[in-house]
Symmetry: C2
Amino acid sequence: MTQMKKGEKTREHILKTTRAILVANGFHNTSISDIIKASGVKKGNLYYHFASKEDIGLEVLEDAKEEFFQFLAQSFQGHSPCAKVVNSCQAIFAEQKKNNFVGGCLFGNAALEMSDLNPRFSEVIHGVFAHWVDEIERHLSMAGEGSLLLGNVSSALMAKTIVATIEGGIMMSRVSKDQADLKECLVVIAAMLGQ
Amino acid sequence: MTQMKKGEKTREHILKTTRAILVANGFHNTSISDIIKASGVKKGNLYYHFASKEDIGLEVLEDAKEEFFQFLAQSFQGHSPCAKVVNSCQAIFAEQKKNNFVGGCLFGNAALEMSDLNPRFSEVIHGVFAHWVDEIERHLSMAGEGSLLLGNVSSALMAKTIVATIEGGIMMSRVSKDQADLKECLVVIAAMLGQ
DNA sequence: CTCGCAAAACTGACCGTTCGGTATAAAAAT
DNA sequence: ATTTTTATACCGAACGGTCAGTTTTGCGAG
């Protein structure tokens, strides 16, 4: 049971605890009882703060989305557009490493498990990927068409592929328990961008 | 309730029906009751053929694995190693299209949802991805190091990245309900292979 | 400062339902 | 005669969720 920090609101504490469980175990494999045990918050109180299990899941996703967008915004650092994109990808790798590659990507997991349950879920998840792709594309387009290694591939196509590759790489890292899988994907992404 | 074909063994009928449900809804979101309703097989009979829900899930995965390996083996067709790999990827796309992009990749879903449950699950899933990567690498290596567009990327790295990109592309197609997402990833893969 | 009091926060027993799985006996099919 | 299938009733545990009631908190009035 994770201790609640002084001054931390119960609601936030529930969301934070639940997020960790969801990343590790997924939505359907997480029970209210699991959340209660892990957070130390009693059932009645939990349902005082949230309407339902789905509600908790949704708010966890929305919180994570906000956080990810902030993380993303400051992850594009480098001397050239392509370098910025590569550095952003590597920042994501570093984040995964910090979490010991446990549980993979919350959004990727949610995409497979929750997106069909409730349209509000899929809305949030779709929003995450769309924004992520847009951000990458925005940077790539600054590089100019000619400077990309794969001449006939537009920055839009490239951006989408980069996101797909990272998500797939995280998934493979998880199942193989080998962080090299993701790292290697990043090498290829960097190579594609001429870095 | 899907009708059982004449001559089809009950056991196979259960596995086939369950696979479709698992692809669409995932393991934890599928109940024995769902399987019974969808297959028309009575509960007692189901437990006559299978020991447990996990058992069914495992056998579904193993069946799907065998089938995928066969599919994969005959999907590498073309006049050059790289063309073979690209055609294989496009065969997978065609398969997804045939299923209207519903549910994504069973192995990808299982990787996130089931691989932590039971080591036998993760064994099967890991085996699928490992073999898939190996097959691609085997073909790419025939192309010779120099012929790959990204000079400093080994065929092993490339193979892993291709699989990751396809899995990520399937996932993004699912959440965005836009098959173009996967198709576009294939365009980039083809470009990487100089096709 | 402190009393009163309403709102907010919290508690834990309890609800009906569904879960995966079992039991058993009879009927069909091979 | 043996395997396979049906039928139905049942089990305890776990599920998501509710509720009446208690405790804590914030705050304006005296």
